[in-house]
């Protein structure tokens, strides 16, 4: 392999692995990140996303493989000689310095002329809208302001890439949502690649150009938020991104794009396989996103609906959540438009759930627990 495979890529991870004794933290991560891209590494805690980030930053060395930065192998280069900067999870602002001195720390390390430092630091503080706080100490700032100081401190160095380790985890919900938009704006303004580690799938979907979903040290799937949401590559990705109803069954017949699956509950449904080679008798699961299911009185089109007992109806404002128990006890959820008329729907009644032809999606294997991921507390906890 040449020193640089693609000049547009800021970072290339060339089959990197990291092991601690017997424990494999990252196994064979092999992907690249383009200039100006907002890239998220998403996964539950312990999936290896932070270790991967630390290998890019230089705080950890890969056990095998290479980290390429701007086309140069930096695998054994210490952090202070790499042109990447990190925004730490708890910000790690220097408590004994003012906001200005914090932001000026990097340029001063590089022994840049103090006059130039002053202009570039103030410029960066303008971008993060904190210019008037330059003389304050970090402890005199709110969480969101500290976060932006950390961002300015890293960006003032104009690194090849900015690494963010769960940067919004310490903020409360409202502020987190505002900061997501703010981060995106800042990223567009400076045009630097952001590599963003998070366990929050909503955050990753909102902000990223591309997402790498990781689990137990493996990269499960890399793609745009839409690709990952619509066509997950595994049961894990399907359950981790958004909420899903996963119904186990076996392939009954296959005709090119679509397969017919005989579900364990008894019903037979048609679902898209996106050309994956499933053969008759394979153990598969059909993924149905709750917002694409509609309640109805009966299943009208064969293979695009299933019947069950409505056990709960929760009004949520714009939507209503329906929880339906299928004949074998599997629970499914359905998010319906709360303003649509829902005839004769009341808890305790038998209803049908129907969907469009492109809704069902087939994945290999059976889930640990059939049905809706959102009602399974163990599943939700495992994704935090």
């Amino acid at each position: 392999m040449g020193e640089s495979a693609n000049p547009k890529n800021v970072i290339e991870l060339d089959h990197i692995s990291k092991t601690y004794g017997d424990f494999v933290a990252v196994h064979d991560a092999n992907f690249s990140i383009a200039t100006g891209e907002f890239f998220a590494m998403l996964g539950p805690s312990g999936c290896g996303k932070t270790t991967t980030l630390k290998m890019i930053a230089g705080f950890e060395q890969p056990t095998s493989g290479r980290v390429m930065l701007d086309g140069v192998d930096v695998s054994s280069v210490p952090p202070y000689k790499r042109n990447v900067n990190t925004v730490f999870q708890q910000y790690a602002l220097f408590p004994h310095m003012t906001v200005f001195d914090n932001v000026a720390f990097g340029p001063r390390s590089k022994k840049i002329d103090e006059k130039k430092i002053k202009t570039s630091v103030m410029e960066m503080l303008e971008i993060v809208r904190l210019a008037e706080f330059a003389t304050r100490k970090p402890t005199q700032l709110s969480g969101g302001q500290q976060q932006r100081v950390a961002l300015a401190r890293a960006l003032v160095n104009y690194p090849s890439a900015l690494l963010l380790d769960e940067p919004l985890a310490a903020l409360d919900l409202k502020l987190r949502e505002a900061m997501q938009i703010e981060l995106k704006r800042i990223q567009r303004e400076v045009g630097i690649s952001f590599i963003f580690v998070t366990h929050d799938q909503g955050e990753a979907l909102t902000m990223s150009d591309r997402i790498a979903v990781m689990s137990q040290g493996h990269v499960e799937q890399i793609g745009t938020p839409e690709e990952i949401y619509r066509t997950p590559s595994s049961l894990f990705v399907a359950g981790f991104i958004g909420s899903a109803n996963l119904l186990p069954g076996t392939v009954e017949s296959s005709d090119g794009e679509d397969v017919v699956v005989k579900l364990r509950v008894g019903a037979t449904v048609r679902a898209s396989a996106k050309g994956a080679p499933f053969s008759v008798g394979d153990k598969v699961s059909v993924m149905l996103r709750p917002e694409r299911i509609k309640p109805a009185a009966t299943v009208e089109v064969q293979g695009r609906g299933i019947e069950g007992l409505l056990t709960d109806l929760v009004f949520q404002g714009a939507t209503a959540r329906l929880i339906v128990r299928l004949d074998d006890g599997t629970e499914m959820t359905c998010l319906a438009d709360s303003s649509a008329s829902m005839p004769q729907i009341a808890p305790g009644k038998r209803i049908a759930m129907t969907w469009e032809s492109d809704c069902g999606y087939v994945l290999a294997g059976w889930p640990d627990k059939a049905g809706a991921t959102t009602t399974d507390i163990d599943h939700i906890e495992s994704t935090l």
């Binding site: 210490p78 202070y80 990190t86 790690a92 602002l93 220097f94 720390f105 390390s109 160095n157």
Partner: protein
């Protein structure tokens, strides 16, 4: 509402002032008794006043209702410490200052006459200037040495100790389970003229070099200024190490990572981040070392010679051997005030707001 009720109500709402007053009056009573402002029948009256005030506050607390109790509580909690200090610190200091300005009618008299005898102070300076100088110079050198030895040790334990942190700290502290005196006397055995250390230095031919450095004197290691300073350094090392360790331990290692991430070499990261953040520990350590070291007399007695006498030894000598309380008191007062002013100046220059 009855008149009695409104009176007790008024006392109840002013209970904090009552509590403060009671604390001050009872402290004053104890100082008066301890410093012998009163004698004979008058002291019985003061004692009675003290008891009445304490019982009065107790009754107010029991009968005054929850609001009065809430207001009285801080003074109640302060009182044991305040009264203890009044009797065992303020009263003795008062006596000390009074005796330092007194004269003895004759050398063997046990009484003093208070005569505003300021010559006690000039005598203290004139006769014991060298000893004062020894005390401050030795204590200052020992303080610097404890920083130089203690800081790296604390650093390694805090950042590299890992799971051995507590064991390493324990090893620093364990020797101090033995008496201060015994440990100091042990050093006089280690440094003795025919001891193994001197013999080893002799064998490898270090004696010449150490004499040139004024560490050894005339082939001797014991009974030199270096031995006294070494003893002080050894004895006060934990008082330096522990506060530095605590301040280093508190530093988030991500701050060091962040400095590295922002293009700082390990040296610069230490200079700009770790060192400034550990200064409060160094500051506390220097106070905890310098103040007791300046007044120390044990090390100079067992490890020094007549020319290394520190002010502590002289004060002990004047009090216990010469029986010259006025001059001894004047020396103590000078030591106390000079340490206090040195510390104040030091705090003004180096003190941090973190160390309140």
């Amino acid at each position: 509402m009855t008149t009695g009720g409104s009176v007790s109500n008024r006392i109840g709402t002013n209970a904090d002032r009552v509590g403060l007053g009671a604390m001050l009056v009872s402290a004053l009573c104890l100082v008066a008794l301890g410093a012998k402002w009163v004698s004979g029948a008058a002291s019985s009256v003061v004692l009675l006043l003290l008891l009445l005030v304490l019982i009065g506050v107790l009754v107010l607390a029991l009968r005054g209702g929850p609001e009065a109790r809430r207001l009285l509580a801080p003074y109640g909690l302060l009182k044991p410490g305040m009264l203890w200090l009044a009797l065992f610190f303020l009263a003795p200091v008062w006596s000390l200052l009074r005796i330092s300005l007194s004269t003895k009618p004759s050398r063997f008299s046990v009484d003093y006459n208070f005569t505003w005898a300021f010559q006690n102070y000039s005598n203290a300076f004139k006769d014991f200037g060298t000893q004062f100088q020894h005390a401050f110079v030795y204590a200052a050198i020992a303080t610097v040495l404890t920083v130089l030895i203690g800081y790296p040790l604390a650093y390694v334990i805090a950042f590299r100790g890992g799971k051995y942190k507590n064991i390493l700290l324990g090893m620093v502290v364990i020797p101090f389970f033995t008496s201060y005196l015994i440990r100091t006397i042990a050093w006089s055995t280690i440094l003795a003229d025919r001891g193994f250390v001197v013999r080893a230095f002799d064998k490898v031919g270090l004696v010449q070099a150490l004499e040139w450095m004024h560490i050894m004197d005339n082939g001797k290691l014991l009974n030199t200024p270096a031995a006294v300073i070494g003893g002080l350094t050894y004895n006060f090392l934990p008082f330096m190490l522990l506060p530095i360790y605590v301040s280093l331990e508190k530093i988030d290692t991500n701050l060091v990572n962040a400095a590295g991430d922002l293009y700082s070499s390990a040296t610069r990261a230490f200079r700009k981040v770790v060192l400034p953040l550990s200064i409060p520990g160094v500051f506390a350590g220097t106070l905890l070392t310098f103040i007791p070291a300046a007044g120390d007399f044990v090390n100079a007695q067992f490890l020094g010679n007549p020319n290394t006498t520190m002010i502590g030894n002289s004060i002990q000598d004047q009090f216990l051997k010469q029986n010259n309380y006025p001059v001894a008191s004047a020396m103590s007062a000078v030591l106390m005030f000079s340490i206090a002013s040195l510390v104040l100046i030091y705090t003004k220059i180096f003190g941090t707001e973190d160390l309140a």
